[in-house]
Amino acid sequence: MAFALTPEREQQVDDILTRYPERRAALLPVLWLCQRQNGWISPEVVEYVAERLELSTAIVKGVVTFYTMFFDEPVGENVVWVCRTLSCDLRGGKAIQDHLEKKLGCTAGHTSPDGKFTLLKAECLAACGQAPMVQINDYYYENLNVAQLDRIIDAHAAQGGEDAAAEFSTCATFGAPHGSRGGSVTSAPPPPSREAVRLASQPPPANDEKGEGS
């Protein structure tokens, strides 16, 4: 069946087109609108987008395949991206992936048997100071441990993504525990602590008081 955007989204396409001097520049934003509605970029979506933006389907397909976030096959109700780049791996990224694979019953790159979760490996998601972390759908979940991860996944299975995000996502607090604000960002530098300046490759002296007083 042919694909069509909802009337509200059609309106958004018209608005998007006004932002650029060339029609083609609307391609990524329009693909995003379609994927949000349809879940993935099906061949029917490609047809629709090509026609709407006056492009060939080959051009649209070429763009879709370039970007990892456009899905050219159906995915589960929730998409879980587990970051496995260095900063996350230094803080247990692999343990997070292993646990997800066990819990969801599928390996990375696949969808859980109940169709609720697709598990994918991600490259650095710009949350390295709040590692380890996962992204689920549009939201970040940072400073994770396995117990918290269990609660987050269970909430997605039981309540759906938006409700789970409202309860558990750390986006609004930039990684700080939920309910606080922006706590992981130190805007004021700590008072200089001369105590702390020592050769870090040597073990601290037994009575080191580093970190205190700051």
Binding site: F70, R91, A127, G129, D138, F174, S184, S193
Partner: protein
Amino acid sequence: MSRSLEPLLTSRYGIEESWKLANAERAGAYEVARQALTTRKPEELREEVKKANIRGRGGAGFPAGVKWGFLNRQDGEQIYLVINADESEPGTFKDRSIMDLDPHRLVEGAIISCFAIDAHVAYIYVRGELAFSVARLEQAIADARQAGYLGERPFGIDHAIEVYVHSGAGAYICGEETALLNSLEGRRGEPRLKPPFPAVKGAFGMPTIVNNVETIASVPDIVQMGGDAWSALGQLPGDGGVRIYGVSGHVKNPGLFEAPVGITMRELIDDYAGGMLGDRPLKAVIPGGSSTPVLDPRRKVDAPNEDHPLHKWHGQSEIDVPMGVDTYRALGTMLGTCCAIVMDDTVNMVEACRNLMRFYKHESCGQCTPCREGTGWLVDVLDNLCNGRGKPDDVDLLVNISNNMMGNTICAFADGTAMPMLGMVQKFREEFMDAAIHGLPDGVRHDDSVRSMVEGVA
């Protein structure tokens, strides 16, 4: 070393609901834009940015004021401002904080910058994963527009300015400025050959300034304080101001810290980030995103010659050199995005290297043979070393592959892969040799994990 105790760039982060217009305005948002647009001339503003000696915060460290001077407009051409919010360099997480916690600072910076370079449209290109940041920015833009700070007559002056957010869709290479422009235009995010540089022929074929989020977000402070005063906040010549430092990995308090340009890595780790996790020894630190060659605290600066830019630090540890674009270049690394990845003595460098090279293999756009083949080959060799199938020649093979990737490609991605690879082998050669002969030590070989267990995770 003196410190600026008053935060500037991050001064609004701690405010309750700091992203809302009313709250941001109560803390001074848009005052500078109003003043700049209504009382100053564009060329004066460009001069302030030049005097500020602000080195681009996106990685390459090019002076923003000089870049703005390269704009070359032919008759009838539009100028565009494109703000790079692709933030995908492993280890880097600073721009996201600006968009999430103080989006109005970025919008205000965009307004002033558009006015200064005579642009009417700014696009903020945000990596696709950051849907939340996109929402915050769009709200901020809508509110600023409603308040009359954007649109046909911002602050009542006759210079229309619109700011639009453009969302990427998952591709590290789109952070490279010409790939970003292709992606903005609705194409595959493949880098373009330079020249022409974007300042001559950029977005939609028009002269374009591409700057990082933090660069543009610094413009209001620069204009308010004056370029000279802002520059003087930094501790190094030709590299001014304050910046956002990030620390991830094995420290007690990973996170973001605002500080003047020119603090040392040791200060960043020990004073700001609380020191090493579990008080273990520091083994290595990648100073400014994964493309910057690693620092080894055991190594001493070798600059006996008085003319050497690092002579002042001769004999001191690498991590005691002030962090600046030029000082770090002299040290054989790069300041990059100024977000450090800290590793303690439990990390095997071959494994860490494999983790990063896998990233580059995944992200190479594939246009250039040395880059496409080289990244794949590096990963194959590193896989062998990690799986106990390596041979001693492999270590030099890593060096040869890297050397062949340098300087032979359309964009700097390949250099950004080869340089950190070479740095790793140069500084931790014994460890690579060890892996080639014996495989990884027991306890390290966890499939593809660098260190699978950190207390409290599992």
